[in-house]
Amino acid sequence: MERAFEIRTLSDPRLLSVIRAATAQMAQVAGFEPKKIEQIKLAVDEVCTNIIRHTYKADPNKELILVFSLSEKGLEIDIQDFGEKLDPSVLQKPRTRRFKPGGLGLSLITSMIDEIEFSLPTSVGNKCRLVKYKGKKQV
């Protein structure tokens, strides 16, 4: 993976559109087709939205870092916050795709992306990694 682009921004909901635009542009540079670009954009948006709502409790002045890394196979996005450590048990992959208030965001993320890893080692806060492949999911 080649570290290609980094965004350091604030947890202000107004900036979600900027994050989405940068994500879409990065996915386009990586060579993804339009439908997958939309899926990557949605997954990144949902992770950031969850951080803003739950980790930062709507405080718009906290820091968010997104690191985009490229390879021939696809795109990897690391998203880090600096809030309280999350309980891993609440981050289990949802067993249902049916709508439940508050639970749809995580379901959307897992369906739009090929790999997701929560609780990556980090000295402060939380880091999650999203991976999307240009072809079929790697095994």
């Binding site: 909901p13 107004r14 979600l16 559109s17 989405r20 939309e38 954009k41 949605l42 948006d45 949902e46 939205t49 803003i52 709502r53 795709r97 049916r98 709508f99 208030p101 508050g102 749809l104 965001g105 379901s107 959307l108 369906s111």
Partner: protein, 123 residues
């Protein structure tokens, strides 16, 4: 009966306007619906639901993006209208919006139409 615009509200990347047509209220949404903009849409839907509007059509034809915040807003509107026997109907969702609705199985919960006329006639 031609649609008559009664109000318009903007929230940065999203615009919301409401019209009345043949007894139905059409809430037209344009732009991106996310955590920042969805409260404006919610406000509009709740406004009409509090008036117990029998048929509330949400026109998504000009929506270019919708995340779970927008979906949750539509579900809340559906639940509100059902409390008084009304209906929330979705019109003209684009392919990406349909994908998200389908993923949440909401395409089987909401009445969805490809035109506003069909949606208004559904009441």
């Amino acid at each position: 009966m031609p649609l008559g615009e009664v109000q318009r509200k903007e929230a940065g990347l999203m615009e919301v306007s409401s019209s009345v047509a043949d007894g139905a209220v059409v809430v037209t949404v344009a732009g991106e619906v996310d955590l920042y903009t969805s409260p404006k849409l919610r406000h509009e839907i709740v406004h009409w639901a509090q008036k117990e509007t029998p048929s509330l059509v949400v026109d998504l034809g000009s929506v270019t993006y919708m995340d779970s915040s927008g979906i949750a807003t539509l579900v809340e509107g559906l639940q509100l209208t059902r409390t008084y026997g009304g209906a929330l109907i979705i019109a003209r969702p684009g392919p990406s919006i349909r994908e998200v609705l389908g993923f949440a199985h909401l395409d089987k919960v909401f009445p969805i139409f490809d035109s506003i006329e069909e949606a208004v006639e559904e009441q």
